[in-house]
């Protein structure tokens, strides 16, 4: 009988341990209030645990009744992780840097009030989706810019191109000199799509800024000459050997290193590349940037207004979650880190870059001019979080197409496939 009791005891202990382990979570708690919130964040080398913990603590300064439990997304795809959490009834109260459109049909996000947006941001409607803003428009990016190596340009007598023809000539000159003309982190689908994002933004939206809205309305298609022309240019870049033959085996870190080591002349990448996470001030002195070239040389800037915090409409404490999200978004200390490390361009009303206590490179300031100057800005194709954001799943289709262009020259068929996937994504 003693043995039986011992066995039962062991079994209960094991069950207890299992239950205890199942109850463990990867969250860390900050604050000591009545409203217990969860905040899904993501970590990068620049935005490490200390950054998030400090930013949460700062945001809670004026919210004594709120406690925040941090949930760290295990991978870079925050949107996918948020969906997993929603599927298991654990949708966080506040979420960092997700794609709002994916969650809107299910009504999972709470819009920010327009008065607060008008009061605090330069472009208060920049992230508007069907009349609601779900991510505060705190900062912006230009993507892609074409970064170039000044020393290589000087060595090979290449001028900074302004038109597509000059861009092609520069590529041919570098190719003839056995220098890789364009760096590409082709093994990472999002990075492989940078040239296509540039072409779709500059050529398609540059000529018809309403193109994405028209695509939703079924008035235009990817198979139309305008978009096919952009695809043909993307394919031309492959055929003229603008990239390294092994470009689709290059990861992001290697691509950054290749470009900064002078192994390639140009690098289409987002403006975050000007941040200290990617480039030192010394390296930045040898790097310049120009917007993606157009046929007639007109400047078209693929522009994306970003932000961080989205609020769950399902939260038991929507008001507190919104207050926390607002406090987090308006904390200049957070934007200071993003400016320095991620090259973010500030979009706070009445607060220019000089008002932030930041140390940035000349490259950052040069590219920031594309934001502050009067010029033709269009939505960065596939990156914006407003009415111009693509239908769910279409970003992945665009990424796959960017890689497919390396081995498949049938541009018309690929455009038709994009149309088919778009129609499926919007349920037509």
């Amino acid at each position: 009988m003693t043995r039986t009791r011992r066995t039962v005891g062991l079994a209960l202990a094991a069950l207890g341990m299992t239950a205890a382990l199942a109850g463990c979570s990867t969250t860390a708690s900050t604050g000591s209030g009545d409203a217990d919130l969860t905040f899904m964040v993501f970590e990068t080398p620049a935005l490490g645990p200390e950054f998030w913990d400090q930013s949460i603590e700062n945001a809670l300064t004026d919210l004594p009744d709120v406690t925040v439990n941090k949930i760290v997304s295990p991978g870079g795809d925050r949107t996918a992780y948020a969906k997993q959490l929603q599927a298991s009834d654990q949708f966080p109260d506040v979420l960092a840097s997700i794609t709002p459109r994916d969650f809107l049909e299910a009504g999972l996000l709470e819009p920010f009030d327009q008065d607060w947006l008008d009061e605090n941001f330069i472009l208060p409607e920049a992230n508007d989706i069907d009349g609601g803003t779900y991510i505060p428009p705190t900062n912006s990016q230009v993507l892609p810019l074409v970064f170039y190596n000044k020393a290589l340009f000087a060595e090979h007598g290449v001028e900074v191109p302004e038109t597509w023809a000059e861009f092609v000539a520069a590529i041919e000159k570098f190719r003839a000199a056995d220098v890789t003309p364009l760096e590409l982190a082709g093994s990472e689908p999002w990075a492989a799509s940078m040239p296509l994002v540039g072409l779709s933004s500059a050529d398609v939206l540059g000529q018809d800024p309403e193109w994405i809205q028209k695509r939703y309305a079924g008035e235009v298609s990817f198979s139309d000459p305008l978009y096919v022309g952009a695809l043909e240019k993307a394919r031309d870049l492959v055929e003229m050997e603008a990239y390294d033959p092994a470009a689709l085996s290059v990861d992001y870190a290697t691509a950054n290193r290749n470009f900064l080591d002078g192994k390639s002349a140009m690098y289409p990448m987002g403006s975050w590349f000007t941040g200290s996470s990617y480039i030192t001030p010394e390296q930045a002195e040898n790097i310049g940037a120009f917007p993606w070239p157009t046929d007639d040389g007109s400047i078209v800037v693929p522009f994306n207004v970003g932000g961080t915090t989205a609020v769950s409409s399902q939260s038991e404490h929507v008001d507190e979650a919104t207050s926390f999200a607002k406090a987090w978004s308006l904390d200049p200390a957070n934007l200071t880190v993003l400016i320095e490390t991620d090259g973010a361009y500030p979009m706070f009303k009445d607060r220019s870059i000089e008002d932030f206590d930041v140390s940035v490179s000349g490259l950052y300031l040069d590219t920031y001019a594309y934001v502050t100057d009067e010029n033709s800005k269009v939505s960065s194709f596939g990156w914006v979080n407003n009415n111009d954001s693509l239908a769910p799943g279409m970003n992945d289709a665009l990424y796959a197409l960017s890689q497919a262009l390396f081995s498949d020259g049938d541009v018309a068929a690929q455009a038709a496939q994009l149309d088919k996937e778009w129609d499926a994504a919007v349920g037509k």
């Binding site: 299910a106 093994s187 390294d244 769910p392 890689q403 081995s407």
Partner: protein, 293 residues
């Protein structure tokens, strides 16, 4: 109540825990997934509707199913053949009781105990443009420029096959080593007395005696490779241009990119059925072969 009966009842709580865990983490998800496959469930919506067999009808008309199935089968065949052939070869080479061989067997087994994600990260650095493989080939003068090991559908598929085989060879080696050590030495001595050479001893003694090991190794290789996901997710992300998406990768994409739990559950059911049929058929086939040998 006899001592034996009391002892049996004493073990009941442990069996109960096992049954609870089995039901909670295997049976319940399985039944739940089966039910979900007949709905339009989405990870973003609390409610869903019954859609009958629509998901299955759509699945068999979806060209992505056939593309991912084709890729999966290529990997399954390659990995099963290569890992079993090389696993048997390594086992034969390392089949010795001496300490040095024991150390070598441990080394061979290391890839199997590593997580697939870690293995994929290691190999990604090897297969990268400036990775170890290209550097070696270029320094030996075998290639002028870097080979795009992950950049074309054919080479990326081949690379994945090699990486997965690298892991499964370790498992096969252990299975075959255990099988070889269970072969009675008297049989070899008798064969030698009968004048059998090395090849003849392998064909007539070794191979028939390790037949159960072949069944285990082949079947587990098939099952492991059919549900391959982690290595692909890290090594190629399903690219280039979706050419290295396995069925399991397709399933996850549909669930969390397209937000279609119902449809992804139908894919899961198809994958489960396929795995069961393949595993059952191969086991049956190999068991019959064991009986013949």
């Amino acid at each position: 109540m006899s001592t034996r009966q009391r002892s049996r009842w004493g073990l009941a709580p442990i069996a109960g825990i096992a049954i609870i865990l089995y039901a909670a983490f295997l049976l319940w998800p399985l039944v739940s997934s089966f039910v979900t496959s007949f709905t339009n469930s989405s990870p973003l919506k609390a409610t869903s509707s019954f859609v009958g067999a629509d998901n299955y009808v759509e699945l068999f008309q979806d060209p992505r199913l056939y593309r991912t199935l084709g890729f999966t089968l290529v990997v399954v065949v390659f990995v099963t053949v290569v890992s079993n052939a090389l696993g048997l070869l390594f086992a034969l080479l390392l089949n010795s009781p001496s300490r040095n061989y024991r150390v070598m067997r441990t080394l061979v087994f290391i890839p199997q105990v590593l997580s697939g994600v870690i293995v994929a990260f290691i190999w990604r650095s090897v297969l990268n443009q400036n990775g170890l493989l290209n550097s070696t080939l270029q320094s030996m003068g075998l290639t002028d420029e870097a080979v795009s090991w992950l950049g074309t559908p054919e080479l990326a598929t081949f690379s994945i096959c090699v990486v997965v085989s690298w892991m499964t060879i370790a498992f096969s080696t252990v299975v075959y080593t255990a099988s070889l050590q269970s072969v009675p030495s008297e049989l070899y001595e008798a064969a030698r007395v009968d004048g059998a050479g090395a090849l003849s001893r392998f064909r007539n003694v070794t191979f028939p005696m390790i037949a159960p090991g072949v069944t285990i190794s082949v079947t587990l290789c098939l099952i492991t490779t059919l549900k391959l996901y982690d290595i692909i997710a890290v090594l190629t992300g399903g690219g280039p241009a979706n050419s290295t998406q396995s069925l399991a990768f397709f399933l996850v994409e549909v669930a969390f990119t397209e937000n279609r739990f119902g449809y992804s559950s139908a894919i899961a059911m198809f994958l489960l059925l396929l795995t069961a049929v393949v595993a059952y058929s191969s086991t049956g086939l190999l068991r019959r072969r064991e009986a013949h040998l």
